[in-house]
């Protein structure tokens, strides 16, 4: 009974919980405005996905948003990974009170909320308010904790003998780090990449405070603008065209790295 009941239940749940919202997004993004005013699950009477996506690109300034998003997310991810790996290596291998205190402080960001209002103040004083370097610094500071936490746990499980063998061959720390530690970190790097990318790619809260809505607005900020205009324009068809385009990169990244991502997330969490 349960042998057939379980898959049937899974399919039903997936259809209701994920299928319905997904269907709504896809059909609405292909409807003309008049049909999309009151969103429903009917298939479009008139299909016009092309026109909607073109409109979203033109009115929603999608290409600029995409470029802006890439220009802050990619450097943030790279910095989080490189700086995080260096710190995690020291934290995992050295044992002293000072090291454990520094480690505890550095992963405190996992729980503590970033003080977003005073970040704005600090960035103004540094002349970084409303700039991409400012945004990158904020994302890097915020997500370093995640990568340090995952990577430190991972490095502790790597046998020290591997490093010692290289050291006997005369390798200096930088060489050992680059040639031995970093390559071994590949699975956890995949995890940290997707986590940080996911957070930074979707973020609107911190981007709103740091970047505001100007020329440097990222994709989520643009989506927010498009959807806020909603009140008097009723443009669900554009909102959902935007949602599809914004989600595709993350879905693609996930599909490419799926196996590593899943194993990385789970091994870091349950240890």
């Amino acid at each position: 009974m349960w042998r057939y009941g379980r898959p049937a239940l899974v399919v039903l749940l997936a259809g209701l919980a994920v299928g319905v919202p997904l269907w709504l997004v896809l059909v609405t993004s292909a409807k003309p405005q008049a049909e999309a005013i009151e969103p429903n699950l009917d298939p479009p009477a008139h299909w016009q996905p092309g026109a909607n996506y073109e409109d979203a690109v033109a009115q929603g300034e999608m290409l600029r948003g995409l470029l802006n998003s890439l220009l802050v997310v990619v450097p943030s991810v790279v910095l989080v990974l490189i700086l995080g790996a260096g710190a995690a290596w020291v934290f995992a291998r050295r044992k002293s009170r000072l090291v454990s205190a520094a480690y505890a402080l550095c992963i405190s960001g996992l729980l503590l909320p970033p003080a977003v209002i005073t970040i704005v103040m600090e960035l103004r004083q540094l002349g970084l308010a409303g700039t991409r370097p400012g945004m990158i610094a904020v994302y890097t500071g915020m997500y370093l904790s995640t990568s340090i936490f995952f990577m430190t746990g991972f490095i502790r499980a790597i046998p020290m003998e591997l490093e010692e063998a290289a050291r006997i061959d005369g390798a200096k720390p930088l060489r050992i780090f680059a040639r031995i530690v970093l390559p071994l970190l590949r699975p956890v790097i995949a995890t940290a990449t997707i986590m940080v990318m996911l957070y930074a790619w979707s973020d609107i809260f911190y981007a709103f405070f740091v970047l505001g809505g100007g020329d440097r607005a990222t994709l989520p900020l643009n989506l927010y603008k498009v959807a806020s205009a909603q009140l008097y324009l009723n443009n669900w068809h554009l909102v959902f065209a935007y949602v599809v385009v914004m989600s595709l990169p993350m879905v693609a990244v996930f599909l490419v790295g799926q196996r590593k991502i899943v194993s990385g997330i789970t091994s870091g969490a349950v240890k």
Binding site: L13, P39, L83, G86, A87, P114, A115, D169, L223, M250
Partner: protein
Amino acid sequence: MADTVVRSARKQAPAPGAPKGVGRLPRAAVHHPWWFALPAIVVFAGFFLVPNLLNFYYPFTNWSSYHPDIAFTGLDNFTTIADDGTLVRAIRTTLLYALLAAVFQNAFGLVLALLLEDDTRFNRFFRAVFFLPVLISALATGYVFQALLDQDGAVNSTLGTDIPWLGSTTWTLVIVTLVHGWKWMGLSMLIYLAGLKGIPGDMLEAARMDGAGPWRTFWSVRWPMLAPALTFNVTTALIGSMNTFDIVQATTGGGPAASTEVFNIYMFRIFGQGLYAQASAMSLVLFLIVVAVAIPLVIGLRRREQLL
């Protein structure tokens, strides 16, 4: 060559009055020098810790877009938000939101993990399906559910009802936390799956030999063994959802009648009005509440894990 250097360094380290140079430093400092950690520490301190420290000062000033100079004003900002009732309301709303969101996210995740536990191709496919919401931005999730739950949205038009899902001052908060649970259930599911996989097979075997049914096996063996996964999931869900913003902003914007106005929604609104110090005061309260919740939570859950 290098070998002998390392060895002699090791030997000389404890010796007093050893010659200057590499030999005098402890081994760890040579092999894993601090400067590898320094850039991360500097960035983290500069853009995370310092703002959090500043957040203990600016709430006590009149910093806003209306004053050219920042002056110390004491507790004014706190008395303002306490007197107009927003402080208590925001605390209540945020804690309730966090609690409900954590419950829903974990319940959905655990049920999915139990349903999709076996490693078949069918299950792997549906795990990915249920993970999809995690990949979609919270803001987009919010808009999808706004379109579904609006009074003239898709749910009402499909069911033929006319329920104001997002218009109730009592129930809308619950509905928004359900959406939050929906968005993150895939992540909880993965972590519970890993926890289930970590249970040794002979333990389950032994339970079956002792005549335990699936229900008994779950409560006596599997559930206790899921403790580390539960710890991680509950902590991250509870703390993470106190910092929520996007889903609430996109579905209700804090309404109706401010019944879903969590801390970050308030900060967003008040900052937009130029009242920076007042927003910062709310941010300090959020910080203190997260600390107050997180510390006993982490300690308690760790202890529970060690009991096993």
